[in-house]
């Protein structure tokens, strides 16, 4: 039974990746989870410098989901390389670093620093955070902005480059194509959906930033549709995510066209979800006589129902 998948030049031992922003820097979970058993860990988004993020409250629950506006609090790329990367390396973690920037140059500079560091396996470009004004989303909502960030980072690194796309645009596949044209090795999608929750007693937003990004099972069918559409549009691999809570959901994304998947919110509910997901995928492969999990990628049966 072969669970491995290929994202550009990067071979993952299985298709399960901890989603950025949902797993700290990975080390937080080392006492509970064998980090090397995951296909990869996408660490929390990093700018060049430290960021404090938004004040609490930063999250609120919604039906089958949650809204967050953390504001990309982070320790900055240099402290990450010094303080976190050595432990991740020692634990044999496949590290995907989520890179943020307020300018094209910042994305390139952060990526260059990470390329020189030992133990980074891929770069995910955060051009899709809905929660801060001055970073990311302005690139992710513009085709030329997406192209500019990806091509600038492409020039400074040989690591796989994976732009993370926002669902908050009319036509996600056009952004996947812009990424492919600019030299991306893969795309990951989707980031969270811009959303809002109000406290009707006080008439105030429930989180300090006002609006936030919606995640969790509530968004899953929309995310699956977007992965499916992008699969029809680009040749590069897709890393799919959005509300995956069990093995069935992960398989759904892969059948729709995702080569690997990321799991975020469900890890909050069940930090030991990873072994259960792997068991469920293995049991599915057994049941359907599938030798290689990569064989199910993009295999939607489009024939009309009888």
């Amino acid at each position: 039974m072969d669970l491995s998948v290929q994202i550009g030049s990067l071979r993952l031992k299985n298709p399960l990746i901890a989603a950025s922003g949902c797993f700290g820097y990975g080390v937080e979970y080392a006492d509970l989870v064998d980090l090397s058993s995951l296909g990869g860990v996408a660490v929390k988004g990093l700018f060049l410098n430290e960021r404090e993020g938004h004040p609490a409250p930063r999250i609120v629950e919604t039906p089958a989901g949650m809204l967050n506006a953390i504001g990309l609090q982070g320790i900055g790329v240099r402290r990450f390389v010094e303080e976190k990367l050595p432990e991740l390396r020692a634990r044999n973690v496949t590290v995907i670093v989520n890179v943020c920037g307020t300018t094209v140059d910042e994305y390139a500079e952060v990526s260059r620093i990470l390329s020189d560091a030992d133990g980074v396996h891929a770069i995910e470009l955060n051009i899709s955070c809905p929660n801060i004004k001055e970073g990311g989303i302005q690139f992710g909502c513009s085709l030329t902005g997406t192209h500019d960030v990806v091509s600038a980072v492409r020039k400074v690194t040989r690591l796989p480059v994976i732009p993370k796309l926002t669902p908050n645009v009319t036509d996600v596949p056009s952004f996947a194509r812009a990424s492919e044209d600019a030299g991306a090795d893969a795309v990951s999608l989707v980031n969270t959906f811009l959303a809002m929750v109000l406290d009707v007693e006080t008439r105030r937003p429930s989180i300090s930033n006002g609006m936030g990004g919606l995640s969790g099972p509530a968004i899953r069918p929309i995310a699956v549709r977007m992965v499916y559409e992008c699969r029809q549009t680009v040749k590069i691999p897709i890393v799919g995510m959005g509300g995956i809570a069990d093995a069935r959901d992960a398989l759904e994304f892969m059948i729709a066209g995702a080569t690997a998947v990321q799991v975020g919110t469900a890890n909050f509910v069940d930090p030991l979800i990873w072994g259960k997901l792997l068991d469920g995928i293995r049991s599915y492969m057994d049941r359907h006589n599938i030798a290689r999990i990569s064989d199910i990628v993009g295999t939607v049966n489009d024939h009309a129902h009888p």
Binding site: G21, C22, F23, G24, E28, Y29, D31, L32, K44, E52, G53, P55, A56, P57, R58, I59, V60, E61, P63, A64, G65, M66, N68, I70, Q73, G216, P217, A245, T265, N267, F268, V269, D270, P271, L272
Partner: protein
């Protein structure tokens, strides 16, 4: 090191129409728990509400020979998750991850321990009082509630040899008013040479007032903060508190892993 267990609910005792004490079979968590630590709990597998909730470990349950067998949680019904916990039936399973977070620092004699509790903020003080009294530390519980029927477990603390100072907002038990008034008075009359450690858990306003009062009399104070938490593990960065850093500036720290017990004089109380 935390463990995650599907813990069987062994008891559920309603203390009032809002408060209940839920007993969970969780020997591993019970054996490792230190005063002030918490667990992330969810009753039932539904996706609405989706997330677990943080609860201070209230009591450690033991078998007749003293072996830790489980824990209890003190819960107040305020939303869907705590309603599920209020209505939970023995035999049901609860997802329970813990023990999590940094515990209280337990003082030794001759330092006295003054625990300041408001409402459901009583929760971490049962295990703390036990640890303090085991060390023979003179311990006082300052405990405030809206009315007499919401002052719980008084006999439990009395049996441990804890002195009680009670207030209610309606005057139905103890002194009428807020708990800060007797705390301030007693700190004011206490000689500087007699050391005291203030511990506090409760509503944010009470914590801030306790922090100010302790600072006014130059007494150290440890607070257990409550924030909306997503994961309890440091993964989501939801539960931050502005804390004074080595550089003299305030930085957001995750109360789940740096706390929930934090030094009161280093928190910016907004």
């Amino acid at each position: 090191m935390p463990v995650d267990v599907a813990a069987e609910i062994v008891s559920n005792r309603a203390l009032s129409g809002d408060y209940n004490v839920l007993g969970l079979s969780a020997p591993g968590i019970a054996a490792a728990a230190q005063p002030g630590q918490f667990v992330m709990v969810k009753v039932g597998g539904n996706r609405d509400p989706l997330l677990r909730r943080p609860f201070s470990i209230f009591e450690v349950l033991r078998s007749n020979d003293g072996t830790p067998t489980g824990i209890t949680l003190l819960s107040k019904r305020i939303g869907p998750s705590t309603t599920n916990i209020y209505n939970a039936q023995p035999g049901q399973l609860a997802a329970c991850l813990g023990p999590l977070g940094r515990p209280f620092t337990v003082v030794d004699t001759p330092t006295e321990a003054w625990m300041v509790a408001g409402g459901v903020g009583l929760a971490p003080f049962a295990t703390l009082a036990h640890a303090l009294r085991t060390r023979n530390v003179k311990t006082t519980l300052f405990y405030g509630a809206r009315r007499a029927v919401e002052l719980f477990y008084l006999d439990f603390f009395r049996a441990l040899g804890v002195d009680l100072v009670l207030t209610t907002e309606d005057g139905s038990a103890g002194e009428r008013g807020r708990i800060i008034a007797p705390l301030d008075r007693m700190l004011a009359s206490r000689p500087d040479r007699q050391p005291v450690m203030v511990y506090a858990c409760g509503p944010e306003g009470m914590l801030a007032a306790t922090a100010r009062t302790a600072a006014k009399y130059s007494r150290p104070c440890q607070v257990s903060v409550e924030r909306i938490m997503g994961c309890g593990m440091g993964g989501c960065y939801s539960c931050v508190v502005p804390m004074l850093g080595d550089d003299g500036k305030f930085h957001h720290v995750r109360s789940c892993i740096t706390g929930p017990v934090l030094p009161a004089d280093q928190i910016r109380w907004d």
